[in-house]
């Protein structure tokens, strides 16, 4: 079975070195657990959209909770954690209609989940996390190489960077679409790595 552990290139802890940064988790209501942590609001939304073909999650900001600390929770252990009172977590419309105000700033306590699941369910949760780690990896790879001009100018200034930008967007979209519709991550990983490599090469000339 394909697994992503802490030694994998795709793994990320999900917590920032900067204590002041916001922390978001993807909360899976069907499991009543957090399944992924990220320190970027944009990534939380993007990852939630990408994984919505497989599981419904809710992005929740957790550094606002009463007992959050950076040593409490990260991607190595977040599966054990949940919110104290999920009655206060409002659901929202599908991701296609998600707005910033839908993102919950959780003010209660984070607690350890007392639900136990069969091993086959745990295996499938880990499979879902594999998708999230790879998706996060793609986002981080691109993010590292992006200047602010590249990141934001491309949407409002379509002439900027010309054909190189179009090519990058196409390669990124291929990666995300394959993650969204994939049922076996191993089959798409070579293509994703190849696309990310191409993006890096093209980005050098921008």
């Amino acid at each position: 079975m394909f697994t992503i552990d802490e030694n994998s290139e795709y793994f990320s802890w999900g917590i920032p070195t900067d204590e002041k940064k916001e922390i978001f988790c993807l909360y899976a209501s069907v499991l009543d657990r957090f399944i992924f942590i990220t320190n970027s609001r944009e990534n939380a939304i993007q990852l939630g959209i990408l994984i919505s073909s497989k599981i419904n999650t809710i992005p929740i900001r957790i550094d606002t909770s009463k007992n959050y600390s950076s040593s409490l929770i990260d991607n190595s252990c977040c599966l054990r954690w949940t919110v104290e009172d999920n009655q206060n977590i409002n659901t929202f419309s599908p991701y296609s209609q998600l707005t910033e105000s839908d993102i919950i700033h959780f003010r209660g306590y984070l607690i350890e989940s007392n639900l136990n699941y069969d091993i086959s369910i745990i295996d499938n949760i880990n499979t879902i996390r594999n998708y999230l780690f790879v998706a996060q990896w793609i986002l981080l790879q691109n993010d590292c190489n992006q200047t602010l001009n590249f990141k934001y100018g491309k949407d409002i200034l379509p002439c900027v960077f010309g054909s190189n930008l179009e090519q990058i967007k196409k390669l990124q979209k291929e990666c995300f679409e394959s993650l969204f519709l994939c049922t076996d991550i191993k089959t798409i990983l070579p293509k994703i790595k190849n696309n990310v490599q191409k993006i890096k090469e093209i980005s050098r000339y921008i």
């Binding site: 899976a28 209501s29 069907v30 499991l31 009543d32 919505s52 073909s53 497989k54 599981i55 419904n56 809710i58 999920n86 009655q87 977590i89 409002n90 659901t91 419309s93 599908p94 991701y95 296609s96 639900l115 699941y117 086959s120 369910i121 499938n124 499979t127 879902i128 969204f180 519709l181 049922t183």
Partner: protein, 362 residues
């Protein structure tokens, strides 16, 4: 002014006090109008759901436990629909939300109908249906069926040519015991020995007279059916199943814009709510159905239906994790509705609905 016809869920008011915060509506609304039980399906006879002109919509089957599995019942329903379609020479329009219940319909068609019969099927869906279940759409809907993405929910244009099939009222056959949602200790008492507890609780809200009437009705109904409904929790299930099911079926007539005798006749004849098949209702009260409701977590919710889909897709992730994107589970596990004499209904356990109710209706 609208007239309140039916309160399908007096039962939620019986919840122990510690769970009352979920239902923070004004209890003064819980008056029992004289018509309160007009549409309740009563006793073990088929009492037809009727509206003002006494035209039958959907009769209740004789309720007796059966041994068939969910899969077998679904197969029967699928063949029944195919036969109905051939008999009336009509195509089939499936309202596909992408959720579990309506996906079962398409899975059964793919399993049992011939490819030439797939051409009879039109899948009505919205953008949200795609987001709800993109993998099923890409792999099974798009390659096999004609589909149409719609942005309205009026059914008039379909009435002449199609049998209209949707996933109603699936939630009623799956309704988990309230004990799961609210903790088992308080609702696990035997109904026969502890119904006075329930009655006392209701009496506080609506008075002794109506509380007695309500308890008598429930008791008579249950006793007449010889059903194995032993705990208070079981009784809650039955109330939801027996009463709310009828209400849900009537609700769909709102999708017809031109309300007249002709459209009503067509609607009543060719609206085909998938889970009304009598075997589903009998399955729901059978041992298999009871087991399906005694769930420990949300992964197990509707598991029999998810297994049916899994037989086709072999997708374990969907088997375990598929839920509705618009799931009410977190905020409001159970909601209550009132029906008015013009056919409209409303959810009453949310403050904004209540204030609208006060402003525009009462």
């Amino acid at each position: 002014m609208k007239k309140l016809l039916y309160v399908p869920y007096p039962s939620v008011d019986i919840l122990p006090q510690e769970f009352k915060h979920v239902y923070n509506f004004d209890l003064n609304f819980w008056t029992i109008p004289s018509h309160a039980f007009t549409y309740a399906r009563y006793g073990n006879e088929s009492i037809h759901l009727s509206i003002s002109n006494n035209t039958s919509i959907l009769p209740c089957p004789k309720l007796e436990s059966i041994k068939e599995t969910f899969s077998e019942v679904t197969d029967l329903r699928s063949i029944e629909l195919l036969t109905f379609s051939r008999t009336h020479n009509k195509k089939v329009c499936v309202f596909w939300s992408g959720g579990i219940d309506s996906t079962v319909i398409l899975a059964s068609i793919l399993k049992l109908w011939s490819k030439s019969d797939y051409q009879k099927v039109l899948v009505y869906m919205t953008d949200n249906s795609y987001f709800e279940n993109p993998l099923f759409f890409e792999k099974y809907v798009e390659p096999n069926f004609e589909y149409k993405i719609i942005n309205h929910s009026y059914w008039d244009e379909l009435l002449d040519d199609f049998i209209l099939v949707d996933g109603e009222p699936a939630d009623k056959i799956w309704q988990p015991t309230i004990s799961f949602l609210y903790g088992i200790e308080n609702l696990n008492h035997q109904w026969k020995t502890h119904k006075h507890y329930v009655k006392n609780f209701i009496s506080n809200k609506i008075g002794d007279k109506y509380a007695s009437m309500m308890i008598d009705r429930i008791d008579t109904n249950i006793n007449s059916l010889n059903l194995d409904l032993t705990s208070i929790s079981d009784v809650f299930f039955w109330i939801g199943f027996n009463w709310h099911l009828s209400q849900r079926l009537y609700k769909q007539y709102k999708h017809i814009q031109n309300h007249n005798p002709e459209t009503f006749f067509k609607f009543s004849k060719f609206y085909y709510p998938w889970y009304v098949g009598k075997f589903y209702q009998q399955w729901s009260i059978s041992d298999n159905g009871k087991i399906s409701r005694n769930i420990k977590n949300l992964v197990e919710f509707k598991m029999h239906a998810k297994q049916y889909i899994y037989e086709l897709t072999k997708d374990q992730i969907q088997l375990y994790f598929q839920t509705s994107l618009k799931s009410r589970w977190i905020e409001s596990p159970i909601f209550d509705q009132m029906i008015f004499d013009d056919g409209t209904s409303m959810i009453v356990n949310q403050d904004n609905y209540l204030s609208m109710f006060e402003k525009y209706v009462m």
